[in-house]
Symmetry: D3
Subunit: 223 residues, 6 copies
């Protein structure tokens, strides 16, 4: 039941980097408004914008043993994603684990629980998106699993899926769809650029998107 | 039922600016400790301190169509205020809408729901006070109303009421009371200045406010 | 029932300062993973790291009268700790009270309720750890107690206990245990330094902490 | 600022009774899906279904003095509606107040805070819809207002508005609209009866409401 | 993107019935302590204990159109399972939909949102496990999907998985594992019967499970 | 650090029984409005009203091993009180543990976490006041302590303190104060009886408690 899956397929790194550049909101729209983690997952500092392949961790509440196990599975460019098996806000992860993960090429952590040493993590430039910041420590008594499918903050995630994270939160892209989504996201960004100019010039969205007729049909009245 | 009220009376701009300068806590005290929105409404970045006339939006959960409609109703110095008709944390508003609103003279957004593109909004200097930050997008299928009375984060707000917002949160001032409240707020600020000096010199509030006798009457014992 | 306890024993200031330097996560581990306040208690600004002797306040919901009483009891280096007698998010404390407390040597406030004037408090360098930021004011009608045992954010605190607070949150150390905990914390910091180097060099925690055998015994399978 | 409004207009009692008979869900639909209080407001026991004219109470957190004041304003068939001026879960109301209110003809209480003595209230048949059940008592130190406009659990309510409450929660109907809404609600109930029979016979809503074509136009695919 | 999957494989009905008889806690233990939905999902009335094959619904916030679509897909013994695409507590489901679902053989509803008409549903004996009870209605404007994989209250669920629900909450069993889990659950029930007798006779768990030695090894001290 | 304190002093059983008869709200008032546990602690069924001496349990999140240890410490009439060392909603306790505890004379459980098998517990007449109902099971890997001081749902509790619990929630009475509080509670009950009669006869609280003058002094206006 407690397993470590070792050889996980990843998406192409260039695709992953294009998803990082597009950002969470755009990627989420590009894949049909799905894949966002719950909005309570927040970055510990502003300004980070990353993407990476998920190394998933299913851990018991209050037990961070499997983080050590997961770090061995990290490849350059990966992101750790931890979901406790029941709600928990303990600080599973701090500066020592971040040092170890960063040494293995890890780009960040997404955790549906707590993190600590946030001042050090910020200084190290190791970004974390978490449910809580908590100094409350954990034990190493009960095993869990690494690289199995998990549900993290309401999103189903498999090892090797692409995680995109920035100040707007976190979105997951299925590995098999990553390339197509990256392409769609790029098109959205280009289309937005033109719209932004027109809106900045004072053109109304009502006109730009030709909404007036449909609003009237729906029954909107101006008084 | 779904209406856009077009000609909304606003308070005098000079009054609004004095309320902005006074800040949320002082304005709230000046009007008898009322009008604060719930404390879960937080700014997406620190340091903004604004006031403006409310352009109100009543929108269905997960549907931001009426934001486009509301932007047409903005006049220089207004603030958009959106309340969903049931609890929702979707990102109703992002950088394109902010570009459009800013082009119309909008000073900010207060929303009892989510916002996204917060990095861009911060760079633009477009302040938002929201319940959540969320990349989760919305649809444009169901109409709502603009400039009708709403309840936003526990406060009843009418179009044209004055919204004051800063790092302490958001307070609403009834349009008809704005001038009187601005005057009272100004007096409070002046009175506080003198108190601040005495407190900084080490004088105790117990003495400055002559509290000792009343505390003893209430039964407070020193042991 | 409503009392002010005046002569509270404090821990040695040098010990308190060493606890401040160790930080919340380390101190919490050093005392056997206990004493953390709930993770919803957050600093109003990043970067403060302080410790001090607790001046405790038990106050009714929505009534900050006892804060004035407590300020008289502050000695150089103390920290105010307020727990309302039932859940409340009102802004009990703002810049005038902070001016007064700071003039008495207070190093900060921990409050299981709200605080306001956070921009001013940040400018003053007066750190606060709170449940909420709220402009909603309070009255001065009902008395409470100062320097009695309280439960604040899930932690039992007595006057004179040492409060340590930083970006990870807040931990309380029993006065009688402060010296021993400071020593243990110091040893942990030194031990961590060596581990950090090895982890930064790419050594795995699995090997550094010799975990592999015990994981296998527990039944962990690699697939 | 603290006032008791004494002569409040009520809706016709026969209209109120028809709204009670229609129930919350139907009344809410009849008035265009508005007026529901937040879903955290729950009955202390199942099975009550009432309507009455609102006697509103704006009370400070942790202070139930104004309930005594409000009881004098009750007329036969009224419902007390209490909103604290900031979030509070104290037990403002228990069996003595219920005895007094019931003696004045009060049909129930809606409170965005706590209630206690729920076993007694249940035995008395005095229904309450509340945010919390809590034995935590209150003081009588600070005044508030009676029969002023309030926001209770997210709904704006004026004295004399009609409150309808049952196992589904609480809805408010504007006094001036009560008669029209009662008529519309009645029509909905009659229309539902016919639909219920067809659905019970196995007819699908897809066919009964002729949804198939519109679903196909929207792009729904069967695979 | 919006699809209805029509031919879903179900587990054997006899297996499903054995899982129902075992109940949620036992089934959850039998499959290795996994599959529970979040504890905020509660039954609208006590005493129901059911199991059935999941007909899954992914619906937009505030839009119950897909429930009508899903009802056509119900086979005798199924359970509807609805997850909104973002948090929502609206009442998606009431007595008319329950009448229709029941006519098709549906055994209940699990919904990570709200339900209404709970008095009628109770009278009908149609059990619902929900996040909220709310009269707030929904629209029929935006399509979603039926019988696609969803995440409901923190659990990943596929169409045809077995849902078991009782007063302790809800657990999901993968279709392919249902038979094995039913067998394991049966063995647990039998083993518990013997333990129950010994515990009722006053034998301690410490002795029955031979825990004393291991506790002493871990360092537990009796004082 | 992990200890079991074996010889705990209890209050007199007759005193405990009088506290049970008085009920939570009255006891809480009798001791000066203190000692209530947070209102999220709710009974799993209505109608139980008990008191007993606390056998306290400090347990790690997701680990119920110490419940077995605690059961050995139960004496006739005790109540188990469990606080996890960090927030957790797992089902620590079910019908087997209840069978064992009941066999030892235990009158109930108060737990700031989850409970399961609630249908069986109800049938057994074993009352539980909990934060959650959850089938999610726990492990037996990490030790904790029994009969040490804990904070449970915001209240500081020592072994041997008297726990009173009913439909209004839970209150703790210090052992040393139990006799005095029981006497005060009895007087309150008698005084209430007379007031109840007068209120039932229509006398207003405003008159019964002579509030009118003080309200006028505070500035209350009738309009």
């Amino acid at each position: 039941m407690a397993v470590v899956v070792q050889n996980v397929e990843r998406a192409d790194q260039a695709v992953i980097d294009r998803l990082a550049a597009a950002g969470v909101a755009t990627v989420h729209e590009a894949q049909g408004r799905k894949g966002c983690l719950a909005s309570y997952i927040r970055p510990i500092y502003s300004g980070a914008q990353v993407a990476g392949s998920a190394v998933t961790i299913s851990a018991p509440p209050g037990d961070n043993w499997m983080v050590h196990v997961a770090i061995e599975q990290i490849r350059e460019g990966d992101i750790l994603v931890l979901a406790p098996t029941s709600p928990c806000d303990n600080g599973y992860f701090g500066d020592l684990l971040a040092t170890s993960a960063q040494a293995r090429g890890c780009r960040g952590l997404v955790i549906d629980a707590g993190v600590r040493d946030v001042r050090d993590l910020t200084a190290m430039g190791f970004p974390v998106w978490s449910k809580a910041i908590s100094a409350q420590g954990t034990v190493k008594e009960t095993i869990g699993s690494v690289n199995v499918p998990i549900v993290c903050a309401g999103a189903a995630i498999e090892a090797g899926d692409v995680i995109v994270a920035d100040d707007d939160g976190v979105v997951v892209v299925k590995r098999a769809e990553a390339e197509a989504i990256a392409a769609t996201a790029q098109k959205r960004l280009e289309a937005e650029e033109e719209k932004r100019k027109q809106l900045a010039d004072g053109k109304l969205g009502l006109d730009l998107y030709a909404m007036r007729e449909r609003l009237a049909e729906k029954g909107l009245k101006y008084v």
